[in-house]
């Protein structure tokens, strides 16, 4: 990880790593059909945070993430990572979508190693990273298969391994477990949490599931209906302690249930 220049660290207040400053998005702006998707939004978080965004459908959560990924230039405001303004997609920000968006013409290993190969890392390092990440998502034995020969959960694990093999500072996840069945989903939550604990990367995670957000996040950001804005930011303690306790026991605990109900009430109050 490159050191941040001191001056930028000082101008960026506190220890913000990712900053949204007055970021707004209007689709088709300047035309008669202009649709505001995101109200001017300020949000900053630190290195190592696991920020979960929840909100009603179409509230602009994905739009917000896309400005950070560099897929969508904001209509107003600016997005920066480590003090550098985002101007397009880049390998410092790994992205995982709801649909795994894998490359079915490449083997599992070639999918996992896509980023390191495109960036021209030394061959031995490419191999090491592929093996490390395929082993850590349990797909090493499937390395010579093709993505379409994997189950939905395995495909999503491969998409995560592909993003992490680049060792990005920031991982952006847009409802990555939304298409999985409940059991697989909970297993994946546990595995993702374990990886985050081990690697300490910064994560922006978008989900419909309040349960998922409260379990995974160090912070839960609740957004309003379209055009989206941030209603409330709620610190969540479970990400820091989980891993020592079993996922089912955490989710059944009184403090977990209370926090989940608090977030749900905010969303229900929005009529979402």
């Amino acid at each position: 990880m490159p050191d941040q220049p001191l001056a930028e660290t000082l101008t960026a207040s506190a220890d913000a790593f990712v900053r949204f400053e007055g970021v707004s998005v209007t689709y088709g702006s300047g035309t008669a059909q202009a649709t505001p998707a995101l109200s001017p939004t300020d949000l900053a978080f630190a290195r190592g945070d696991f920020v979960c965004i929840v909100g009603p459908s179409g509230c602009g959560k994905t739009t917000l993430m896309q400005t950070l990924a560099g897929f969508l230039p904001p209509t107003g405001g600016r997005v920066s990572v480590g003090g550098v303004e985002v101007s397009g997609p880049g390998p410092d920000r790994g992205v995982v979508f709801q649909q795994a968006a894998l490359f079915p013409w490449k083997t599992v290993a070639a999918n996992a190693g896509f980023g390191p190969a495109m960036r021209g890392l030394p061959r031995t390092e490419q191999k090491e990273r592929v093996e490390y990440w395929l082993r850590s998502v349990g797909l090493w034995d499937f390395r010579d298969r093709y993505p379409y020969q994997l189950s939905g959960g395995m495909q999503q694990r491969l998409a995560i391994a592909r993003a992490l093999a680049n060792e990005p500072e920031l991982l952006l996840m847009d409802e990555p477990f939304g298409a999985l069945d409940a059991l697989t989903r909970e297993k994946m939550q546990e595995e993702l949490h374990a990886v985050w604990k081990r690697r300490g990367m910064t994560v922006l995670f978008i989900t419909h599931s309040v349960d998922e957000a409260v379990y995974l996040g160090t912070e839960v950001v609740v957004m309003s209906r379209r055009p989206g804005r941030i209603l409330e930011r709620i610190p969540a303690p479970f990400a820091r302690i989980a891993g020592e306790r079993d996922i089912r026991r955490i989710k059944a605990g009184a403090d977990f249930v209370a926090l989940r109900e608090q977030v749900l009430e905010l969303i229900w109050g929005e009529g979402g």
């Binding site: 897929f71 790994g94 968006a101 013409w105 379409y148 680049n166």
Partner: protein, 264 residues
């Protein structure tokens, strides 16, 4: 999956059914002859066609051997198809990648695509002569708009998330093109190539009917002037078999190379 089961029949029964239907067609043909449903002077029997095949294989037809006629037709069809591919695929890719290229070229391509190629054969012959250049040019004009349209559509249909995923993994524009756009578009391009080859093949015969002194189309046309319907039928059968062979060759290449077709 039950649907997968539906799509993957075993080869044995399929082969048998194919043979049965061909045998049935041959039997029907023979019956038409045997019971004189069509006067025998107007429809040769299967045996007469086989005799014509043996005769032409040995002595050729009006100065050209059967191999030469087949070769001439094949070379023209494949030559036109090759030129159409060499022009059509890059143009379609460029149109798919660049909206200015798309806007500039699409009307021309869409204008050419539905035109019956034979409608400009005479013009081509006036400009390029009655030889093979005009014929190959005609077939290239037949194949190229089909190939360019299919390639354009294929590139435009590449899922944006795959491109975004590649970009966020650090791929350059050129790498995205080579490693994502091209393979994602390949199944549709391949389908376009098969359709274009079939179109070129059916046009080559018509072109040979109008001008030329060799090729299967010429052989059929020439035989029809002498009412040699055994040779007409022989030419038709050889054409059909050649078309099937070419088509299944491309299909085999497609199945062998594009293993990800239809799979996510």
């Amino acid at each position: 999956m039950s649907l997968g089961g539906l799509r993957r029949h075993r080869a044995g029964p399929r082969l048998a059914l194919g043979c049965v239907s061909v045998a049935f067609a041959l039997l029907a043909w023979q019956s038409v002859n045997t019971f004189h449903i069509i006067p025998s002077g107007l429809l040769a029997s299967p045996a007469q066609v086989v005799a014509a095949l043996i005769d032409i294989s040995r002595h050729g037809y009006r100065g050209t051997s059967l191999g030469e006629d087949i070769g001439a037709t094949l070379l023209r069809a494949l030559g036109g198809f090759a030129v159409g591919t060499i022009v059509g695929v890059p143009l379609g890719l460029w149109m798919g990648m660049n909206r200015f290229a798309a806007a500039g070229a699409n009307w021309i391509v869409q204008f050419l695509r539905p035109l019956p190629p034979l409608s400009f054969l005479v013009l081509l012959m006036l400009w390029l002569g009655t030889g093979d250049v005009a014929k190959v040019g005609l077939l290239a004009l037949t194949a190229f708009p089909i190939i360019a349209s299919a390639t354009f559509a294929a590139v435009a249909a590449v899922p944006v998330q795959k491109i975004q995923a590649a970009a966020s993994l650090g791929a350059s524009r050129g790498q995205i093109f080579r490693h994502v756009m091209l393979p994602a578009a390949l199944p549709t391009i391949s389908t376009g190539l098969r359709i274009a080859l079939a179109a070129a093949f059916s046009t080559v015969v018509a072109a040979e009917l109008m001008a030329g002194s060799d090729g299967l189309g010429w052989m059929i046309f020439s035989a029809s002037q002498f009412l040699r319907n055994d040779i007409i039928l022989l030419g038709i059968i050889i054409l059909g078999l050649l078309g099937m062979a070419l088509s299944s060759l491309l299909l085999g290449l497609d199945r062998g190379l594009i293993h990800w077709r239809g799979r996510e």
